[in-house]
């Protein structure tokens, strides 16, 4: 557990006002303002002094945000493309990076000058990410990498990638991995958009052909990549956070109810309509249950007795969201046959079409909910084993050199 020093809230507010006296968001662009915010130790106050923080408790971060909002109409929030860098990149650099890395990388992550991506998943290593096959071979002061990564968000915008590669194929799978910082502009790195079921590319594939990474860009020790990756993944869980709409009947439910209210009268028989109405009501209920369960999880957390209510949300939310959009399509009936957006292959963008067009897009996009960030099958294993304490499956890949484990 990290130890934090204490500071009066008033002093932190005072320091924030000092920042605002020097640069004001209303008169400064996001990058310049956030650079200054970092220099004042107000980027993430729980980071050490000199690295964008003041060594305070993470709870104090809201004070800074609150004080800025109070004195400025413009707030320079975390840039959307920087979510991975800020949520996972900065903590991993802080924990495992050299002083040189902290000095050169952290400020540019916070300012939004450098975008970061995460290179863990591979075509042959999905749920079993520790079985990944990208090879790193030592060559003097460098490592030479060959392999393919997949499902990489913002890779096409990124300066840096957090990459796990196999440095020792003779070790058991978790033990032969190392964690690298990859310069995405290095020769041999090729980023291609990965078009999805919707025709959009939210993700990329990254191909690595004889890419050189200097040894000093290894984070953690050789063979320690899995532990470093776990640190990153834990921060991912925190960054993604818990589920459901904040408001009663809000979010996706509101969109479904709108489609229901605007359904074509007389398109289906009364008994068919009664069946649909029951499904719509069940969708409303399910989303309320998600919302109420995350409220209950928060209450349990603040009373210091977190129970299983937090862990069930990921699984439930995926299944519930898929069911909601399936229902939405069925409510539309024959209208579900058209796809107004078209399937032109393109980069992901915000969607501003009609409620119907959006629902059709969501009908397709939501298939990923039970796959991304842990499939529903893996989530059920986690709930069964870690929450209920059921025994694991016998493992055929345990204590076996990675190179001898069968893989597709």
């Amino acid at each position: 557990m990290a130890e934090y020093r204490t500071m009066e809230e008033a002093e932190l507010r005072q320091r924030t006002r000092a920042l605002l006296d020097e640069v004001h968001p209303e008169r400064t662009d996001s990058i310049s303002f956030r650079r200054a915010q970092y220099e004042h130790g107000l980027a993430w106050v729980h980071f050490p002094e000199g690295h964008g923080g003041l060594g305070l408790s993470p709870k104090m971060n809201v004070v800074v945000h609150d004080e800025i909002s109070k004195h400025s109409k413009v707030v320079h929030h975390d840039p959307p493309a920087s979510i991975i860098g800020i949520g996972m990149g900065a903590p991993v650099v802080l924990t495992y990076g050299s002083e040189e890395m902290k000095r050169t990388l952290l400020q540019r992550i916070f300012s939004g000058e450098d975008i970061w991506c995460q290179l863990f998943s591979e075509p042959s290593a999905g749920s079993d990410v520790a079985g990944l096959a990208t090879r790193a071979v030592r060559d003097g002061d460098d490592w030479i990498l060959n392999g393919q990564k997949v499902w990489t968000t913002v890779a096409h915008l990124s300066k840096w990638g957090m990459l796990v590669a196999r440095t020792n194929p003779d070790a058991a799978k978790h033990d032969g991995l190392s964690y690298f910082l990859l310069d995405m502009e290095a020769p041999g790195v090729e980023v291609r958009p990965l078009y999805q079921i919707t025709g959009e590319a939210e993700f990329n594939e990254v191909f690595l052909t004889d890419v050189r990474i200097p040894h000093e860009r290894m984070l953690g020790k050789e063979g320690q990549g899995w532990q470093v990756a776990i640190t990153t993944l834990m921060n991912e869980r925190v960054a993604i956070g818990g589920g459901g709409s904040k408001k009663k009947g809000g979010g996706a439910t509101a969109q479904l109810l709108k489609l229901w209210q605007e359904r074509q009268p007389g398109a289906v028989s009364a008994s068919q309509e009664a069946l649909l109405r029951d499904r719509v009501t069940q969708c409303y209920i399910d989303n309320e249950l998600l919302r109420l369960t995350s409220q209950r999880a928060r209450a349990a957390q603040s009373s210091g007795n977190p129970g299983p209510e937090g862990s069930v949300s990921k699984l439930a939310q995926a299944e519930i969201n898929k069911r909601l959009w399936e229902t939405a399509i069925d409510v539309m009936g024959a209208d579900g046959l058209s796809f107004e957006e078209g399937y032109e292959l393109r980069q992901a963008a915000t969607h501003s079409g009609s409620a119907k067009a959006l629902a059709k897009y969501q009908f397709l996009r939501s298939r990923a909910n039970s796959i991304e960030g842990g499939t529903s099958e893996i989530m059920r294993n986690i709930l069964g084993e870690r929450v209920l304490g059921l025994p694991g499956e016998p493992r055929v890949d345990k204590n076996v050199p990675w190179k001898d484990v069968p893989r597709s």
Partner: protein, 372 residues
């Protein structure tokens, strides 16, 4: 308003006390004994619950001799009772009839009955459902008949909780004013009561026939709205009981999956069983959220209480039934035997799903309330 779902230390103490008491007095052997008896419960145990724990009058105000607690305490107690499969007239007398008395009855009747309920001296049952099979109040057809200064009732009532042994029946009947509440005492002329051979042996139900039976009107004016709320409150409490039962089924199934070995390893290590347990866990946690939300809303008199009660009854009915059914499946052949308690939970689950309207009925109620 956001519900906070916080249980205080006192609530946790209450839970621990009731759990310990029921483990002692209502273990499986006791449940089997009580369910086989004609009254369907143990009168000595009921007396202890009333006197030592103050549960018979848990939600009866102190001025009427009760404990004066609210719906958060009730939810804790119901959860524990559901877990233990307690055989007792608690739902019928201390929840349903008590709520009807508090919401609809005149002062005299409250005075006459509430203190006796709290002391465990009297059982009171509300009779509203009829042979038409409907659970909504619009289904009440029994009409009042004026007889001299008073009233007489003729007709039948169905599925009356503990109605065969109740000291007093509160009968819902239709008049020109709307729905009104009538008191009929045990032994009244023309009153015929028969115990229903029930699917769920742990909760007794009776059919009631009334033939020109003298009845005292105990309410004033149309009670439809008040009775709607009484039924919703009862559903919220029943949902909490269902949660307790479902949690117990989850624990039984999980425990068995850890210890039962087939093909050389615990069956819980197979994903077919593990994933069933995980889905059960999700359903039980969601059921808790629903039942707690409804009971906290009742306690705080929230505007959307009736929506939440319908949502809870629907959710918890399905969660309990599926948990009880999967518990049998996970126990395999053993789970199908009379000797194993799994069937007792299964029967309680289905019966409490059907009682006061099943899951689909309550989705219909909710849809009506929120305009789907």
């Amino acid at each position: 308003m956001a519900l906070d779902f916080s249980f205080s230390e006192e609530h946790e103490e209450l839970r621990a006390t009731v759990r310990a008491f029921l483990q002692e007095t209502s273990d499986e052997q006791a449940v089997r004994q009580h369910m086989a008896s004609e009254p369907g419960y143990d009168s000595e145990l009921w007396q202890q619950l009333a006197e030592q724990l103050g549960l018979a009058g848990l939600i009866i105000p102190e001025e009427h001799g009760g404990a004066g607690f609210g719906y958060v305490e009730l939810l804790v107690v119901m959860e524990e009772m559901g877990r233990a499969l307690l055989c007792a007239p608690f739902l019928g007398t201390s929840v349903l009839a008590t709520n009807a008395l508090l919401a609809c009855a005149d002062e005299l009747t409250q005075k006459e009955l509430l203190a006796d309920i709290a002391a465990g001296r009297k059982l009171v049952s509300l009779a509203h459902a009829e042979a038409n099979g409907r659970w909504d109040l619009a289904g009440v057809e029994l009409r009042t008949q004026a007889a001299g200064d008073g009233f007489e009732l003729s007709g039948s009532k169905r599925w009356v909780l503990d109605g065969h042994g109740a000291d007093v029946l509160l009968v819902v009947a239709r008049s020109d004013a709307g729905l009104e509440l009538f008191r009929v005492d045990a032994g009244a002329k023309g009153l015929d009561r028969s115990l229903v051979p029930s699917l769920d042996l742990t909760r007794k139900l009776a059919h009631i026939e009334l033939a020109a039976t003298p009845a005292r009107r105990v309410s004033s004016g149309d009670q439809t709205a008040a009775l709607e709320r009484v039924l919703a409150l009862t559903c919220a409490a029943l949902a909490a009981e269902q949660v307790g039962g479902a949690q117990m089924c989850l624990e039984m199934a999980t425990e068995y999956a850890k210890t039962r070995l087939q093909f050389g390893r615990p069956i819980g290590s197979y994903q077919a069983i593990k994933h069933k347990c995980a889905d059960m866990l999700v359903a039980v946690e969601f059921a808790k959220s629903a039942a707690y939300a409804a009971c906290f809303a009742a306690a705080n008199d929230e505007q959307d209480f009736q929506e939440l009660a319908a949502l809870a009854k629907s959710t918890c009915s399905e969660a309990y039934f599926h948990a009880a059914a999967d518990n049998i499946q996970i126990h395999g052949g053993m789970g199908f035997t009379w000797e194993h308690p799994a069937h007792l939970y299964f029967k309680r689950a289905k019966a409490s799903d059907l009682l006061f309207g099943d899951a689909a009925h309550h989705r219909e109620v909710l849809a009506g309330l929120i305009g789907i």
